[in-house]
């Protein structure tokens, strides 16, 4: 899901040239006294849509065995790719996880 991908994207890589700008997740972890409705990551997710802000995604099986995720629009889904292309065009502010597979 986009959160996992963003965490992995924020790790500096030895294969990147020095002074490469690192991707980081904008904002801060949510207030746990008043957690956000729907998906708790939605307020910080560049791929969030209305559904994410209303309904909590259930943990579901991925294609790969033993892989579970909770996301309405996981990495690779049509909605994810559509938003990814948009971010790419507009300079990809947000999470900077363009090109994720």
């Amino acid at each position: 899901m986009p959160y996992t991908k963003a965490l992995m994207k924020s790790i500096p890589k030895l294969t990147d040239p020095s002074h490469t700008r690192l991707a980081s997740i904008p904002g801060r972890p949510p207030d746990l006294v008043h957690p956000p409705e729907g998906c708790r990551f939605a307020p910080r997710c560049a791929y969030a849509r209305d559904k994410c802000r209303q309904e909590e995604p259930p943990l579901v099986q991925a294609d790969h065995p033993d892989h579970l995720y909770a996301c309405w629009y996981p990495v690779g889904s049509p909605e994810f790719q559509e938003r990814d292309a948009e971010l790419e065009r507009t300079g990809g502010v947000a999470v900077g996880i363009a090109g994720a597979s």
């Binding site: 963003a6 924020s10 790790i11 890589k13 030895l14 490469t20 690192l22």
Partner: protein
């Protein structure tokens, strides 16, 4: 490894030039810990020098010795043309306003009983800089530039902030006296990867905004590569390799640097783990090995390495290595 030697020192526009730095600690009768054994390095204005190595290699001691905490056993630390090792305590106090330090544990490096605003303001009060209004305006500006709300800082103590926020506050405190140089000792090692990325990006931005020169000490090679212009690799109190950041990782010439690069785990469960690990433990700095200090763990070591300490030798393009048998085909990064 082992390098002594000064072939890598430069003459132009240095903010810091350290020569023959030795730091030893007495640890009981006839026991001396040789933490740093005759290293030399320089940092140019506006440059970030990264220092990497295993825990216990002397990298933090080196950073602290620049600050004269404690004063090194011998050697010179010339900062902005003045040797800090020869200063009186009042001169040193003043010189230290220009070299600041940030540490690994950001929460315990702030006073738990004060608001963080007071902690950032205090250096200005101690030095009587400006009027009260001017001081507060400056603190507000600097807190904003590190991404901390000044109003919240006035009401909150360190435990009310996250580790990443406390590190930002520590950076703000280091900045208020308008330093020339900041020594960062493992500043992101306690932070999660996303916050680490934020703090590293922040340091890069502040370096430009405030014209800073940085020493960045860390054990994570990828982090050091990301922020540094030049990197020095340390092993057991000695320098083994010094090179421009990209060049070091493209053609690591020291066997130790190569082993360090190979031993980094990749976030990929299918990655090849068959590469050789570094054998043995870091030897004791009380009785360091003869000759090259890395010879006890080096796959290429021979008699020469046992007998004779290698000097830092130029490899071209500002790359220096202290090794009798530098690696010709360095590790390739996938």
């Amino acid at each position: 490894m082992a390098g002594t030697g000064k072939a890598h020192l430069r003459d132009v526009d240095n903010v810091l030039r350290v020569e023959d730095l030795v730091v030893e600690f007495h640890a009981g009768r006839n026991v001396t810990v040789k933490a740093v054994s005759g290293i030399s390095f320089d940092v140019r204005r506006g440059e970030t020098l990264g220092i990497v190595g295993e825990s216990g290699c002397g990298k933090s001691t080196t950073g602290r010795a620049v600050m004269q905490i404690p004063k090194p056993t011998s050697g010179t630390v010339v900062f902005e043309g003045r040797d800090l090792t020869g200063l009186s305590s009042s001169e040193l106090r003043e010189a230290r306003t220009k070299v600041q330090m940030i540490f690994q544990d950001p929460i315990s490096s702030l006073n738990p009983r004060r608001t963080v605003y007071e902690s950032v303001l205090e250096p200005l009060e101690i030095w009587g800089r400006g009027t009260r209004d001017e001081r507060e305006t400056l603190v507000d500006d600097i807190l904003e530039s590190v991404g901390i709300d000044p109003e919240r800082a006035k009401e909150s103590r360190p435990h009310q902030f996250s580790g990443g926020q406390c590190q930002r506050i520590s950076i703000a405190r280091a900045l208020v006296l308008d330093p020339t140089m900041i020594i960062c000792d493992e500043p992101v090692s306690a932070l999660d990867v996303s916050v680490q990325a934020q703090v590293l990006n922040l340091l890069e931005d502040l370096k430009v905004k405030y014209g800073l020169t940085l020493m960045f000490i860390a054990h994570d090679l990828a982090v050091v590569k990301n922020v540094s212009d030049r990197v020095a690799v340390m092993y057991l109190g000695k320098l083994c390799e010094v090179a421009p950041s990209d060049d070091l990782y493209a053609r690591a010439a020291h066997p130790y640097t190569n082993v360090l690069l190979k031993s980094i785990p990749e976030p990929d469960p299918f990655a090849d783990h068959s590469v050789a690990d570094l054998v043995g433990e870091l030897p004791s700095p009380v009785n360091p090995p003869s000759g090259c200090r890395f010879h006890t763990r080096c796959p290429y070591a021979d008699d020469l390495c046992v007998r004779e300490e290698p000097q830092l030798q130029p490899m071209g393009d500002g790359h220096f290595v202290a090794c009798h048998h530098p690696v010709a085909t360095p590790v390739t990064l996938s």
